[in-house]
Symmetry: none
DNA sequence: AATGAATGAGGGTTCATTCAT
DNA sequence: CATGAATGAACCCTCATTCAT
């Protein structure tokens, strides 16, 4: 009789976060207002949002956390299942592209939130893990280079390029699951080629 | 002594446009308000902006035009000087990366303006040329494939990847002109590798 | 103890509408601003008005409705109590004149609202009934002519004249209830005379 | 070489006044801005208007004077040509109605100016003569009553009614000169009837 | 836990007016 | 005599946030 206090609250918060994700994905960060969120969620006042979240920034933090949580849940197993440096790189790229087919609104919302002006660095590790995709990727590439799995290139720059390419590919609305899978494979192949070990001296 | 009729107006407009570019680059489109622009430009009232520009959209149009003009002036010669499909691809990537060293604020402002909600398609060709970088790149890649200069891959997807990679590389604040040039070359090399003709059968 | 959900809102809306009527009557439509309304109503911000009314047009619609409601409530019984065409004409004129003694601000506000630029035709019948006083009057006159109650004249023109005369008489600030009643009777008598059946041939 | 200083100025003032009359008639007082007037007159800046007129009120005063001047020039001869009290009343009404066919914009502009909030009493006599049509008419009616030309009624009230009726009839856009003349005659006839001497006791 | 009325700052825009040229 | 750039107040409206209930 007592314990469901926070159950109710948690449900409300989740409802509001979910609505915010949809609104962010649909109208972008600039037009994401409490009024619009309340309307989407079927709430009759913006006061309720302020009641459950200290701040607009607080709400967006929660949105970020939720989006990251879902993304990690989706990508984690796929990446861990991969073997070898090349395989991991490949899996990372493919999983990231495929993520958009599973949670299109989440991905757009993520970009909107991160692009919001005045956002400070994320707090927890999981968030950083997704947010700092570049760093994680660079580490993988550097390690692979040390093991001779990749050629010689600037790992940070390549990580940046990979991440940017994924985001760009993901930004165009995908047409069908099949096409998403194809794009995932092809993008992975592209960077496998780009990171391939340097060609040996042509034999005489 | 008389001929400079509207020299004042032109100067003010340029001043305001320049200030808007800086503000856009710094705080993003959503937070780019007349008040902030006026403060940045050292104007004492937002009314002055409204006096010189019909609309906020009008101002942003002018910003877009200016940014595109500068970008075309910078990249055009570099691209045209290149020879061959691979050379052109290389030059395009390098020029784009180097652009950010020349006009860092311009590049960020461009993205902010284009990302603004409710923006319609650009009118003139020069703008479209810069805006639709993906299309232009895809055409180059497709043509190169037909001439055997590139391997087999989806040109649209690759164009998207190249563009995204450039933007990502460009997004991090560059440290020094030397480093920019290095990044330009390396990124170009990366995609030259990624688009290289399929390896011939190893000779026996 | 709970049932008064929106009693506060309704009261505020009524308060704002009432204030708007007074302001309209005093300074005219062009100078009727949210600021002036708020000041008159004793509100501390114009935001409150925007909170309760979607639009300035929305507020003016409400004003129109309220004014019409009051006018119909006042004039309706008086007109219906009259008998015969001449009696009805008389009652209509008198009631209209007397209305101004009861709700002087309402009448001026009505004119201001209807004269506002960009107002579209009224929706409901009651409003139209008050708005299209000319049409209603013309119909009465035409019907009366068909029954021999009135002489021969252009009904539309006469209706226009009657309406204009009423408005003019009503426009001057009345001095005392007694004088209003006198004016009402005399104006009615004037148009009873003006619309009287054509004099019969003098008997030999 | 010197004398045409004020000639130029007078011409400019007339041009601006004329433009203002048109704008007033077209968009009403509330929307009559310096910008719109300048655009209509083909001027490139509102500064020119401020240069020639001390104030917006000053400009509107000039407009009023011009409108009155034209109206007096039009109506004066027609009224003076009439004979007898009834004839003069008739002529006054007809001339007033016909005025609208000659200077439609002037008449609408006049109403707009007089309806403007915060207008004080007119200065010169000619203006007062037109502005205080009611007073002039009341004097005529009172004098006529003293000479037995009219019946018994309140002259002020009747004057008010006549004026209001004229304005109302004039307010509807006239369709053709013929119709205007018909309306003029009929309205005159209406009030001749309404002011007719009291019917004598029916002879036994 | 929830409501919704209220607030005040700030948004873009229009306006009459001033002033140096 | 004319210009047009500049100003600052006021316009309507939206927003995140507060608070009594």
């Amino acid at each position: 009789m007592q314990a469901n206090r926070s159950v109710t609250e948690a449900a409300r918060r989740r409802q509001i976060v979910a609505a915010t994700i949809e609104v962010l994905a649909e109208v972008g960060h600039g037009a994401t207002t409490f009024t619009r969120i309340a309307r989407w969620a079927g709430l009759s006042s913006t006061g309720l949002i302020s009641y459950h979240f200290a701040d607009k920034a607080d709400l967006l933090d929660e949105v970020l956390a939720e989006v990251v949580r879902a993304a990690v849940a989706f990508m984690g197993p796929r990446i861990e299942a991969a073997e070898g440096h090349v395989g991991t790189l490949s899996a990372r790229i493919a999983a990231n592209v495929e993520l958009v087919a599973e949670h299109p609104a989440h991905v757009r919302a993520l970009r909107e939130v991160l692009a919001a002006p005045g956002r400070s660095a994320p707090a927890d590790d999981a968030t950083a893990g997704l947010t700092d995709r570049v760093g994680a990727l660079a580490a993988l590439l550097r390690d692979g280079q040390a093991h001779g799995a990749f050629g010689s290139f600037d790992p940070e720059l390549m990580a940046l390029a990979v991440t940017g390419a994924i985001d760009a590919v993901v930004a165009v609305p995908p047409a069908g699951e099949e096409q998403v899978r194809r794009a995932a494979h092809e993008l992975a192949a592209t960077f496998v080629r780009a990171t391939a070990p340097d060609a040996p001296e042509p034999r005489p």
